[in-house]
């Protein structure tokens, strides 16, 4: 019985409401303590609820909350199965650590308590998203995380760039949501229900494999997932989202919210299995995004933008995993990525904090000695994301690559892309580390880097431990996570990594790719003079292939022009013109009647008496009415 799971959602929601209303009175740092305690409590509750699964239970449960839209048979219901258990634990666990980190990071901010209100709101929204037992509840969470993401990206809204980034994220997500909503309508039209149980239970009976309907549904779901998870071509909002405070980037734009698309594809695995074409598209989009974003990350100068493109790239891996039906591998990578990428972002935040807000890596270097704890923990994340065993990233990335390779045919090509990406990943992460922590000090005058306070380093250390050993829960010898998740995927045929000697060779190749990336970066940045990265190619990479300019010219400018036409021509001249025209007509007609209103009471008297006399006369002459 896990009826109490709703409390895990209610607590952060309550915290958000309390902090919005009484935040100023609660003040700093108590708002941070309150929010962190509530986030931690949510984590404890989901762990308690998951105890049954730890003990080997398989049975998923539906938790009925209340009747929501009776006309359509939609209830507010939560689904508690191994998949939602893993997701809620990652979300609430990493979320709590980042709450604690924020206590120190947001110190002295003008809207300190408001920040924690939004963070709590986000946590509650994300939990709703992963707990929903039907598409309607999932969609509510989906939109709520979009809202809290918007609020947090533009948290420092005094900066025009932050306000613009918030809007951009919201609008790009809207495009994805459009696809998602249409998919939901198609699902409802097909199944007459939005409940996971009904839809997945009847999918095989109602939909023919590879049929038009299921392909359309899954492709539209992919549009939604690509928007939320920043995949090609809807990834453009994520790099700009780095305008938000760094804990936000860590929690929302690396560890949790952006993985919602991956979760959704995994959750709807039954549908994707019936649509092999869509699954192929998912895997292809993932592979291309992984490579594409990795190449951009190579040329970035802003430490957070490197990590942003890295996140897009890693999300590409997850899409590749769920695209080849290796759902457990995708979720596994989602989890390890949450650990090491949250760690990287928090580490970067710690560096930025120490450098008095400087984010340009050209002005860092040699920070190893100044911030040993930050350096040590980030180094763990660095080797983890580079795919060096036995750190977490190696296991999950390799499982995805292995499953992709095992699918054969066209997918071997995607595997090759993933392999090249692994090399690039190791290179750009090493570049980030070498340029930040090694080499000569290129600091601005007056900057005195120092280690961050305990509230920031303790979460770093906790995440460092998770990033180091988190991968061991699912090794080829002991597939703990896979067995844990299997009941949630009992209706789909999971793809597996190959057996025999092949996985060893594949692992060796991908470790080699990572090692080559690190070695090349070492030669380039640590041996002798670090090269100047100037010129056309570097500028193109720095600008992300000018995609923002392209979108700006082809989509934003025409949109703005159309809006201007509507506002200043259609509205000002058309609508306003019609209203003003009616007014003008009345005014002109009024001139005719104007002289009658003399303002002299006695002239009105003449009118009244004259009128009365005329009436009497008419009556007398006609002899009655």
């Amino acid at each position: 019985m896990v009826d109490f799971i709703w409390i895990a959602v209610a607590l952060p929601l309550l915290g958000a409401a309390t902090l919005v209303v009484f935040g100023k009175r609660i003040g700093e740092p108590r708002s941070g303590y309150l929010a962190s305690v509530l986030a931690g409590a949510a984590f404890v509750i989901v762990v308690i609820a998951a105890a049954n699964f730890f003990a080997g239970g398989h049975q998923g449960e539906q938790v009925y909350l209340f009747s929501w839209i009776p006309g359509l048979g939609i209830n507010a219901e939560f689904l508690w199965d191994p998949l939602s258990a893993v997701m809620t634990m990652v979300v609430a666990g990493v979320g709590s650590l980042i709450h604690v980190y924020s206590i120190g990071y947001m110190h002295g901010d003008e809207r300190y308590s408001r920040f924690f209100a939004y963070m709590n709101l986000f946590l509650a929204s994300m939990l709703i998203l992963v707990l929903g037992a039907n598409f309607a509840v999932l969609f509510v969470g989906w939109e709520l995380v979009g809202l809290s993401s918007y609020l947090l990206i533009s948290f420092w809204f005094e900066k025009p760039s932050a306000a613009a980034a918030g809007k951009k994220a919201f609008i790009v997500n809207r495009i994805g949501d459009f696809g998602f909503v249409v998919a939901l309508m198609l699902i409802f039209a097909t199944f007459g229900s939005l409940g996971f149980e009904t839809v997945f239970g009847n999918a095989a009976g109602l939909l023919s494999e590879g049929g038009g309907t299921v392909t359309a549904i899954t492709l539209l779901l992919l549009v939604g997932a690509a928007g939320k998870s920043a995949q090609l071509p809807l990834y453009v909002w994520l790099p700009d989202a780095m305008e938000g405070p760094t804990p936000v980037s860590a929690l929302i734009h690396a560890a949790t919210m952006v993985t919602a698309g991956v979760y959704m594809v995994a959750r709807t695995g039954v549908l994707f299995e019936l649509a092999p074409f869509s699954s192929g598209v998912v895997a292809t989009v993932g592979a291309l995004t992984a490579l594409y974003a990795a190449t951009i990350a190579i040329g970035q100068k802003d430490i957070k933008r490197v990590l942003a493109y890295s996140t897009i790239s890693q999300l590409g891996y997850m899409f590749m995993g769920v695209g080849v039906a290796a759902y457990t591998a995708g979720i596994f990578h989602l989890m390890t990525h949450a650990f090491f990428k949250a760690l990287l972002f928090l580490g970067a935040g710690s560096v930025i904090h120490a450098m008095s807000g400087e984010q340009d890596m050209d002005k860092m270097g040699g920070l190893r000695k100044a911030m040993p704890k930050t350096f040590a923990t980030m180094a763990i994340a660095w080797v983890a994301i580079s795919g060096i065993p036995p750190f977490s990233g190696f296991w999950s990335k390799d499982e995805i690559l292995g499953a992709t390779f095992n699918k054969g045919g066209y997918f071997v090509f995607l595997w090759a892309i993933g392999l090249i990406t692994a090399g690039f990943t190791a290179y750009y992460m090493s570049r980030l580390m070498f340029r930040t922590f090694w080499g000569e000090k290129r600091w601005d005058k007056g900057v005195h880097p120092h280690e961050s306070p305990g509230s920031m380093t303790i979460p770093l250390i906790a995440l460092g431990a998770l990033a180091a050993v988190g991968g061991l829960i699912n090794t080829p010898w002991k597939l703990t996570l896979e067995h844990f998740l299997e009941p949630a995927f009992e209706n789909v045929h999971l793809a597996h990594a190959p057996e025999g000697a092949t996985p060893w060779i594949l692992a060796l190749v991908s470790v080699a790719a990572g090692a080559v990336g690190i070695y090349y970066a070492y030669r380039r940045f640590l041996v002798g003079e670090a090269p100047e990265e100037k010129g056309g190619v570097w500028e193109t990479l720095l600008q992300g292939y000018y995609v923002d300019d392209l979108y700006g010219k082809t989509l934003v400018l025409p949109g703005k022009a159309a809006a201007e036409q509507l506002a200043f021509t259609a509205d000002a001249k058309g609508i306003d013109g019609a209203v003003n025209g009616v007014g003008g007509l009345v005014k002109r007609l009024a001139v005719i009647a104007k002289p009658l209103q003399t303002g002299l009471a006695r002239s009105y008297g003449v009118g009244i008496l004259g009128g009365a006399a005329a009436l009497v006369l008419i009556i007398l002459v006609r002899g009655g009415w």
Partner: protein, 101 residues
């Protein structure tokens, strides 16, 4: 010679015309007000006389209504005139032509 309803009607007509003439010819708002009262009461006289002649109570009833309405009207009207006089130091309606279109 008996006094028939016709006499009353004639008297009422005379009073009505006097009131109407005063209303049109005088400028003082207070006097005009009194003229209106005169007209109202001439109509009252008509009502009562006609009612008596026809043996109906309706005439008296109508007269009663007119008295009540007139009382209400006087209350409001006099208040307005007093306020206008305080503001403008005049009660001449010809000078109060602010509503000219």
């Amino acid at each position: 010679m008996t006094v028939t309803a016709g006499w009353y009607m004639a008297l009422a007509a005379v009073l009505f015309v006097m009131g109407g003439a005063g209303l049109l010819l005088r400028k003082n708002a207070l006097i005009m007000f009194m003229c209106i009262e005169l007209m109202l009461n001439s109509v009252n006289l008509t009502f009562v006389a006609a009612g008596h002649a026809l043996g109906s109570i309706d005439g008296q009833l109508a007269a009663l209504f007119v008295v009540v309405v007139a009382a209400a009207e006087v209350t409001v009207g006099l208040a307005i005139i007093v306020m206008v006089f305080r503001k403008r130091s005049t009660a001449s309606v010809d000078e109060l032509s602010g509503m000219k279109g």
